[in-house]
């Protein structure tokens, strides 16, 4: 369904204030991922849980395809596009498999339990004509009279709901779907930058933040990913049906 893959990210919410860019921790992580050839780097973290800037550790593959961010209260594993149309990002099932392996290594050593799991995916659909793009808007929205007369060239369709249906060991899930009409430029290695106008679809599926018990470990991703990918697949089918009939 996706023509351009933008990125995948899986997160484990956990107190990770001890995983810092110190020589001891870096040595442990470099050994842990020696087969992957990851390199240590840093990033600045400023957020609700660290209002003053903190330097945090990040592991990067040499081409920036993979990144593991160790923030103070979450560990994010991301896969980014490094070749045309994000072909290297691959299918989400492979990402999930690799991510489970990475989290097993990290949590196997640091022996931590977390309170929240999440997966984020985003990509763009194949190009559409101007007319088709306008039709997508009318299929998704009941616009105000002004926008009926002046059809929008940028819009966002965001829905957030809790899914009780997929409760297994993870509890209810927040399911966020964004469908946006976006306009942009694609920069490739040849520096040719064609403009595009496309429909972008992204998902953020996560366990609810209200339950703060540190109840998840690396194995919890099995149930979580299984449920999250089921939901994602269902919604993608529904989008396909609405957009393409």
């Amino acid at each position: 369904m996706f023509d351009i893959l933008e990125r995948y990210q899986a997160s484990f919410f956990v107190k990770a204030t001890d995983i810092i860019p110190s020589p001891e921790i870096i040595s442990i992580l470099l050994n842990m991922f020696s087969d992957k050839g990851f390199l240590p780097t840093t990033f600045q973290e400023i957020g609700p849980q660290s209002p003053s800037p903190q330097v945090r550790l990040r592991l990067n593959s040499k081409n920036n395809e993979w990144g593991i961010n160790f923030a103070s209260h979450r560990i994010d594993i991301e896969k980014n596009p490094v070749v045309a149309a994000g072909k290297n990002v691959g299918d989400v099932e492979t990402f999930v498999k690799e991510t489970k392996d990475f989290f097993s290594r990290i949590l196997g050593h640091f022996r931590k339990k977390g309170n929240r799991l999440s997966i984020i995916t985003s990509g763009m659909l194949k190009e559409m004509t101007h007319k088709e793009l306008l039709e997508v808007y009318t299929k998704l929205f009941r616009p105000l009279p002004f926008y009926e007369q002046n059809m929008p060239f940028e819009w966002k369709y965001r829905s957030v709901a809790k899914s009780e249906k997929h409760i297994k060991k993870t509890g209810p899930l927040n399911v966020i779907t964004n469908i946006n009409r976006v306009k942009g430029k694609l920069f490739d290695p040849t520096n040719y930058a064609p403009e595009f106008e496309r429909i972008e679809v992204s998902f953020d599926i996560n366990t609810i933040p209200e339950n703060e018990d540190a109840r998840f470990n690396a194995e919890s991703f099995n149930d979580f990913f299984s449920s999250a990918l089921d939901i994602r697949s269902d919604i993608l089918n529904q989008i396909r049906k609405v957009l393409y009939g």
Binding site: S27, Q44, R158
Partner: protein
């Protein structure tokens, strides 16, 4: 690397800031787990749970450092003869950057190191420049970079990594070096000598 840039034709930054502080964005932050959209620059999303204005400002500062200083710095590293203990124009440039924004400077250099991991000349140059600073001035990125250097396939780069730890001469440096193994005899001999010197110095 491919990059996607969204063209925000109909947005003004001021609106984004006000949205960030609205009650709606706070509610959304709890449900949403996304922090950032790395490929989509120049866009502000209330959906991005905790990508604070400060984080975006930092990203912009880093971007400016890359634009203003990267090519100049890389050119200096590639063209200059380095001598330990002697400041070069590359050192001066980095000191100027540190004076402007130390935190961003260190992150910028760390990124340059990773991006040029196959360019031995650049890696050795960065290590030499950083080794001229005090340990406390370059921590934590300095030792992070030197540790990454110890994983490089080039023995010369690894030597520069060891030499950086030697110059910093901290207890941390000693602990790191005591856990390093070198296959090359000449490098292993040098490593043992550095460890012995540091042990004596720090005892």
């Amino acid at each position: 690397m491919d990059k996607l840039f969204r063209i925000t034709t109909a947005k003004s930054g001021a609106t984004d800031v006000s949205l960030k502080t609205s009650a709606i964005s706070v509610i959304q932050k709890e449900d949403c787990t996304d922090i950032e959209t790395p490929l989509l620059e120049e866009i502000v999303e209330i959906a991005s749970s905790d990508s604070s204005i400060e984080n975006r400002l930092n990203a912009q500062r880093l971007k400016r450092f890359r634009t203003d200083f990267s090519s100049k710095f890389l050119q200096l590293l590639r063209e200059q003869d380095f001598e330990y203990g002697v400041d070069t124009p590359a050192d001066e440039l980095v000191r100027k950057c540190f004076h402007e924004n130390e935190a961003i400077s260190k992150e910028w250099i760390n990124n340059l190191f990773v991006e040029n991991f196959n360019d031995q000349t650049v890696l050795m140059g960065i290590l030499r420049v950083l080794s001229h600073f005090n340990y406390q001035e370059v921590v934590p990125q300095g030792p992070t970079i030197a540790l990454a250097a110890l994983a490089n396939t080039s023995a010369e780069v690894r030597e520069c990594g060891i030499r950086a730890f030697e110059n910093w001469g901290s207890l941390h440096s000693l602990k790191v070096l005591e856990n390093v193994n070198c296959e090359e005899k000449w490098l292993n001999d040098y490593l043992k000598q550095v460890i012995a010197d540091l042990q004596e110095e720090l005892s």
